[in-house]
């Protein structure tokens, strides 16, 4: 054989080497991530490869309670769509609802029980077993129960409805503690209070935007965040183009243009805090112009005489003839509807303002009329859940109790007061006084980070539950939520946690709360409902009903339309009318701007900030992604010499935040707006350390009548820091430059 010289050999090696490198480079440059074809070794029984199955359940991204259908392939949730048979969502979803999958498959979910080692709030947790966790909690609470100290146990959770609420209540009652509270920043306390005064009802009425012809919205961003956005959007579509040749008109009254403002035919920026006054002005004009023909016309004109359009115009800075025009249109349209929310419902005069708006509805004669306010029947169950709402006042009490050391064990579930309360109320500091904080949570948000013990809950897509949409849709409705995928991690549905805690604590708890799982509990309750509603029958019938309900995801009685609420006496309405004067924290001279925090369609009150799809969804009005900004009127910006991207110190009497400026054409001069939702100190990789949270600098003014936080009643001043920061927007130039992009101008109805 031929000898290979050392030199040749080296050459060959070299050549080979080059080949190898080349190969690697090529491979690297074209490689793709390898996916397993069938991800589960032991698939669930209803699993067949390549075939998608749909499960109906309830969305939990916001309190509207939309029904959703989840598409499952190979045991994994692939897509969330609206449940077509659900009366609230009617097959539609909002962006937040779609993003529920990011919550389920979120990389930052809590996967096992955790115990805080190291100092509280430091975020050093170590994994422990469920037994350990439950025994710790159980023994602690058990001891308190034995020495009748159970009232030192407090349960705080977000807006919980349906039978889970009953379960919590039962648990606390059996424990002997009446400190079961709910806190939800977005809960419409003022609206409830006002409706109580005007209509004497505890249940949110159904606002029939769908059939309205003239919609007057005082600050309520009904398309983005107010109460039930998806349902309202459906209604809006119908209001605009659903009726042949009869296009409804919408007017939006708010200092900063919201989604609903953009959709409206007319956007009116009244002076902040005077919306209620404007309502009364319109009411006055409506009556005096003779558009109201009720028998009690004189009382009304007497009650409203102080609010002549001229005076109101001076206060609200809305021109007099505009007020008259609105009054005329509102009074003469076949179906007029006035709603109030947003900043209008977050001033010191919130209730008074909403009462005024209610008066408008009364004067329009739309109560219990199609296109007006339709009173809901009492919900199918858990009617009293609303009464558990702590409201801001309630939270202050809780903080007081914690400070005073009256709280030994604090159970927190699905609410994040550390984020959703102003800094200077000191919830975080108060927590330091609590010996044991237990968080029942799926994510490590700011409040959960403060816990000593984290009991990881399964997400709503992995748990059993039921819900009554609030507001209802005019007839009795209840939805069932069921697990659509196998639980991903070592987590438990919150209901099951409560039940196992009950077993752990012992005493009479397990005797009364004898259900093994939430599923059993719910099924039994539904059976009771089923029986109560008179349809006594055999097992099969209920089983059939139950199966049907499960498949549909919802049960309802469309027949039973509730118009039977007595139209409230005008006297009570007139009596309830109060002068809606607003107070603001901070003196105008040193705090020249009114701070307008607003909920965003992307993050709602911040609970959506940990979902990447929502972080990457451009803000509907500004196209900004990832981060916060403060909106300024172009004129104001010019006066102060502020350009987009200049970082400002927004300083209120209660604190200050540092945030880049954004020039926003549709905001009232003298008002600055900061979106709520960003500015998390924890809550996973997508939310953490991004933007600012305006709630933290809100001064703690309280609406006297509802005891709720007046978060739109803070004044601020702006300071240029000299820094600049790129605001990440997807928009280029937001003017059409005279190009026919939006189509030829025309007025077809």
């Amino acid at each position: 054989m031929s000898k290979i010289s050392r030199r040749d050999l080296l050459q060959y090696i070299g050549a080979g080497g080059i080949g190898v490198v080349g190969g690697v480079l090529y491979g690297e440059s074209v490689q793709q991530n390898v996916e397993l074809l069938i991800p589960q070794v032991v698939p669930p029984e209803d699993y067949s490869p390549g075939v998608a199955t749909w499960y109906n359940t309830v969305c939990n991204q916001c309190p509207a309670g939309c029904g959703i259908s989840v598409r499952i392939r190979e045991g994994k949730a692939k897509k969330i769509e609206g449940n077509p048979v659900h009366p609230v969502s009617q097959g539609r979803t909002c962006a937040r609802g779609q993003a529920g999958l990011n919550a389920l498959y979120n990389p930052d979910r809590i996967r096992t029980p955790l115990q805080n080692v190291g100092q509280r709030g430091s975020g050093n947790f170590e994994e422990i077993s469920w037994d350990e966790a439950l025994t710790t909690v159980g023994s602690r609470i058990g001891r308190l129960k034995i020495d009748n100290e159970a009232s030192r146990v407090r349960l705080l959770c977000g807006r919980v409805r349906g039978h889970l609420d009953e379960l919590f209540l039962q648990f606390m009652n059996l424990l002997g503690s009446d400190h079961y509270q709910q806190y939800d920043f977005t809960y419409p306390s003022a609206l409830m209070a006002a409706n109580k005064m005007s209509f004497g009802t505890d249940v949110l009425p159904y606002y029939d935007i769908r059939n309205a012809v003239f919609l007057l919205s005082f600050g309520a961003d009904y398309l983005g965040t107010w109460i039930s956005p998806v349902h309202h959007s459906l209604a809006y579509g119908h209001l605009r183009q659903g009726r042949e040749g009869r296009r409804g008109k919408t007017i939006q009254i708010e200092p900063r243009m919201s989604l609903s403002g953009a959709a409206a035919d007319e956007w009116i920026a009244a002076r902040p805090g005077t919306e209620g006054l404007l309502a009364l002005g319109i009411a006055h004009a409506l009556v005096s112009e003779g558009h109201y023909h009720g028998s009690d016309r004189d009382e009304w004109s007497k009650a409203l005489q102080a609010y002549s359009p001229s005076l109101v115009s001076a206060e609200t800075e809305v021109s007099e003839d505009k007020i008259l025009r609105l009054a005329r249109e509102f009074g003469t349209s076949t179906a007029s509807l006035a709603i109030a929310g947003g900043a209008t419902a977050a001033g010191t005069n919130a209730v008074a303002s909403i009462v005024a708006v209610n008066a408008l509805n009364y004067l329009a004669g739309n109560l219990s009329q199609p296109g007006g306010i339709i009173f809901n029947p009492d919900p199918a169950f858990s009617a009293t859940a609303g009464s558990r709402q702590a409201g801001f006042q309630g939270m202050l009490d809780l903080i007081g109790a914690m400070k005073a050391g009256d709280v030994d064990v604090l159970l927190v579930h699905d609410t994040n007061p550390v984020f959703a309360l102003p800094d200077n109320v000191g919830f975080r500091q108060a927590m330091q006084n609590v010996p044991l904080i237990i968080a029942l949570s799926s994510f490590r948000d700011e409040t959960t980070e403060m816990a000593d013990l984290i009991l990881p809950t399964s997400t709503y897509l992995e748990s059993w539950g039921d819900d009554v949409p609030d507001p209802g849709v005019g007839f009795p409705v209840a939805s069932i939520s069921q697990p659509v995928v196998a639980t991903l991690y070592d987590t438990l549905p919150v209901g099951d946690i409560v039940l196992s805690l009950a077993r752990q604590i012992g005493g009479e708890l397990p005797i009364h709360m004898r259900w093994g799982t939430m599923e059993e509990f719910i099924k039994e309750r539904w059976r009771e409902e089923y029986d109560q509603r008179g349809s006594e029958g055999e097992e099969q019938e209920f089983e059939a009903f139950w199966q049907a309900a499960l498949e549909a995801g919802v049960w309802g009685q469309p027949g039973a339309v509730a118009g039977d609420q007595p139209v409230p006496l005008s006297s009570s309405m007139i009596a309830s009318i109060a002068d809606p004067v607003s107070r603001f924290a901070g003196d105008e001279s040193d705090y020249p701007f009114v701070l307008h925090p607003y909920l965003t369609a992307t993050f709602f009150d911040g609970r959506g900030a940990n979902l990447p799809w929502l972080q990457e969804m451009p803000d509907p009005m500004t196209s900004v992604v990832y981060g916060s900004w403060v909106e300024l009127n172009p004129v104001t910006a010019d006066e102060l010499g502020i350009r987009e991207g200049d970082v400002l110190d927004v300083e209120s009497p209660a604190g200050s935040v540092r945030v880049p400026a954004l020039i926003f054409p549709a905001i009232r001069p003298g008002v600055v707006a900061i979106p709520v939702g960003q500015g998390h100190a924890a809550y996973g990789r997508y939310a953490r350390d991004r933007g600012v949270n305006p709630i933290h600098i809100v001064a703690t003014l309280i609406d006297d009548q509802s005891g709720d936080l007046a978060w739109a009643a803070t004044r601020v001043k702006l300071k240029l820091t000299g820094e600049r920061l790129q605001i990440i927007k997807t928009d280029g130039v937001t003017r059409t430059l005279g190009r026919q992009i939006l189509g030829p101008e025309n007025d077809h109805a």
Binding site: T93, K249, P634
Partner: protein, 249 residues
């Protein structure tokens, strides 16, 4: 002479797309659209659009097959915001199609402007030629943070770096619908049987999708609406998306 002109015209507009069973078309009613962007997230969920991250957004390299464009009109206080959803218009005379040297994009017999990812070599000419700027390029190979990838839709491929991608009118749903139609011996898909993700999610029902070759289809009726127009009609790309202007009152 006239016959010659006639021939020439035929030669220039052969009109394949009317010969076939379907001509998928969408109408978007701007009077209903509220700019809520549910469609954008729905599309992201359905079509495995990557989560590109803050940095990529800052570099203006996001991928959104459907986006909402914003246009301000007037100044405060009489300022108006106009939204217009912008997605691939599936033009019958698409400028992008002629551009591709390797047939990675062409017009299929359903009137869809298709994009074949694994044939694309990434010249990006189509994106330059597209006047609607609805073609998005994969500047990188994007990955999903564990376990987000479990959500990925198995009916849609995940694209690698260096390929162009864009709205497909959810062609995977069209395929499924056609198969179902075949299974129960129908030649045609029923109206409303195919619903792209964006149309499905739209809370105001602003988007309507269907086969415009079928005069009974809802979309055909919508197209007759006097408010109808096509964006950048003057470019003669004959889009398959008809917009209905917002009504000003």
């Amino acid at each position: 002479m006239s016959t010659f002109v006639e021939k020439l015209r035929q030669y220039r507009k052969p009109g394949y797309y009317d010969k076939f069973d379907y001509h998928w078309t969408m109408t978007i009613d701007l009077d209903r659209c509220t700019g809520c962007e549910a469609c954008m997230v729905a599309c992201q969920a359905e079509n495995n659009l990557p989560i590109v991250g803050e940095k990529r957004f800052a570099e203006n390299r996001e991928i959104k097959w459907i986006r909402i464009e914003r246009y301000w009109e007037g100044e405060y206080p009489d300022v108006k915001m106009r939204f217009i959803p912008m997605l691939c218009q599936h033009c019958d005379d698409a400028p992008c199609e002629t551009a591709c040297p390797v047939f990675a994009t062409y017009h299929n017999q359903d009137g869809l402007n298709t994009q074949i990812y694994n044939r694309c070599i990434g010249t990006r000419t189509c994106a330059v030629y597209c006047p609607y700027e609805v073609r998005y390029f994969n500047w990188f190979t994007y990955t999903w943070d564990e376990p987000l990838e479990q959500q990925l839709n198995p009916d849609v491929t995940v694209r690698e770096k260096g390929v162009m991608e864009k709205c497909t009118f959810c062609i995977q749903r069209i395929r499924i619908a056609k198969d179902n139609a075949k299974d129960d011996d129908r030649r045609r898909v029923r109206d409303g049987e195919v619903v792209p993700a964006c149309v499905q999610s739209c809370p105001t029902e602003a988007l309507v999708f269907g086969n415009s070759n079928d005069p009974e289809a809802k979309v055909s009726k919508m197209m007759k609406n006097p408010r109808g127009y096509k964006v950048l009609e003057e470019l003669n790309t004959t889009p398959s998306i008809v917009y209905l202007t917002k009504v000003h009152s």
